[in-house]
Symmetry: C2
C-alpha cells in the first residue's frame, strides 16, 4: 500500500511464454510486491501492462477517503491504457505480481488491438454499472463471483486474491455486508468457503439465477 520502492525489472526476449495479445516486440517484465503501486493518479500514461501472474486493482479515491475499485485484472489481462495523457486512477498489485510492460511505441503501432481492448474495457465498465446501479447486495456478490469464475475459464474453485475491503469497494458495499452475504451464500450451500479467500461454487445455476 505504501511501498515506495521501484519494482524489480528484467529485460525480456520477444518469444516468451507469456501470451501478449498479439503485441510483439521486446518488453520488460516487472515484479511488484503485494500492495505495491504500479502507477498513481496524475502519472503520465506511458506504458501498458499485462498481468503474467498475480492480480491488480485499479481504483480512485474521493477526498474523504472513500474508494471505488474500478476493475480487477487477473493473469492474462491487460490494463493501463486511458483516454488522456495522465492517469486518472491508481493501480496496485494485490498480491505478489509479475507484469509484462509495453512502451508507448509498441502500443501505437498496434492501435487495432488497443481499440479492441478499449472497447472491451468500456463494455466491462458498463456491465459493472448495471450491477452497481440496479442490483442488491446478494446479486452483486453473485455477479462478482461468476465473473471471476468466467474470466478464468469457468473454474469452480476460486482463489480470491483480493480482500473483503477490495470486494466491497468494487461493488459499492461495506466490508460487513460483503461478509454477511458470503455467509448467507455459504449457509444456503450456494458456495463453500474453505477459508475466507477460497470459494467453491457449489451450485453455479443458483448463483446465476441470483445474479439475474
Amino acid at each position: 500500500m505504501y511501498a515506495a520502492s521501484q519494482p524489480k525489472e528484467q529485460s525480456f526476449p520477444q518469444s516468451d511464454s507469456i501470451a501478449t495479445a498479439g503485441i510483439p516486440g521486446p518488453h520488460l517484465v516487472a515484479t511488484y510486491r503485494s500492495g505495491q503501486e504500479i502507477y498513481a493518479e496524475g502519472d503520465a500514461v506511458e506504458k501498458c501492462y499485462q498481468v503474467a501472474t498475480g492480480a491488480v486493482r485499479v481504483y480512485r479515491l474521493l477526498s474523504d477517503g472513500r474508494r471505488q475499485v474500478v476493475s480487477f485484472h487477473l493473469a492474462g489481462e491487460m490494463f493501463g491504457f486511458e483516454a488522456g495523457a495522465t492517469h486518472r486512477f491508481f493501480a496496485e498489485a494485490i498480491t505478489e505480481t509479475r507484469l509484462a510492460v509495453f512502451g508507448r511505441r509498441p502500443m501505437q503501432e498496434h492501435s487495432r488491438e488497443l481499440l479492441a481492448l478499449a472497447l472491451a474495457g468500456m463494455a466491462r465498465a458498463q456491465e459493472h454499472l448495471l450491477v452497481i446501479g440496479r442490483q442488491c447486495a446478494v446479486e452483486r456478490i453473485a455477479a462478482f463471483l461468476l465473473d471471476l469464475s468466467n474470466r478464468q475459464g469457468g473454474i469452480r474453485q476460486l482463489r480470491l486474491p483480493m480482500s473483503r475491503q477490495d470486494i466491497a469497494d468494487y461493488l459499492g458495499l461495506t466490508i460487513e455486508t460483503v461478509s454477511r452475504v458470503m455467509t448467507k451464500l455459504k449457509d444456503r450451500s450456494v458456495i463453500a468457503l474453505r477459508d475466507a479467500r477460497t470459494v467453491d461454487i457449489m451450485r453455479p445455476d443458483a448463483l446465476r439465477s441470483l445474479s439475474n
Copy 2:
C-alpha cells in the same frame, strides 16, 4: 418507447455543418421521434451515430424490468460502437432527435478516431462507476447536473431532455429520491427550477463541493 416504425432518412452530402469528429464521407441523417428505438439489444453493430440535435439514452433492462441507463448523448456526441458484433444495450431517442449515421466502413477506416472515442467512453463509464458506487443521492445529482453543464460548455441554464425516471435509472436511484433531492437543492438555492425540466445553476461552486 414502443415505436416500431422506421426513422425518416435522407441522403446527405459530405460538407455539412455538422461536426463529424474528423470522420468524413457521405452519410445519412435520420430523424427519430421522441421515444423511438435507434437500436436494440441483440441487433448487429453496423453503424455509428452522432447526435445532431436532440438527445439519446443508452440502457439495459433486467429480466424483472429494472433499468440501468448507461449513458446519455447530447448534440455533437457519438455513440453506437461496442465491443462485440451485437449490441448489448438499447438506444432510444429521448426527444425528437436527428442523428448523423456512419456505416461500418467509414468507421473502420478511422480506427484512430474510434480508439479515442472508445477510450473516452471507457473513462466516462468508469467516472460514472465512482458516482454510483460511492456517492450518496445528493452527490449523484450534483455530479449529474455539473456533468450536463460541462458537456455543453459550462452553461448555467440547463434544459433537461430526460425525465426524472431517466435520471433515476442513470444514477441508480428512484424517481422519488431524484425529485426530493432536486427540491432540496432548490430550497437551498443551489439551483432554481423554472419548471421540472429547466434548471438554473445558481451556485456552481456549491454544486461542485456537493459533488465532491
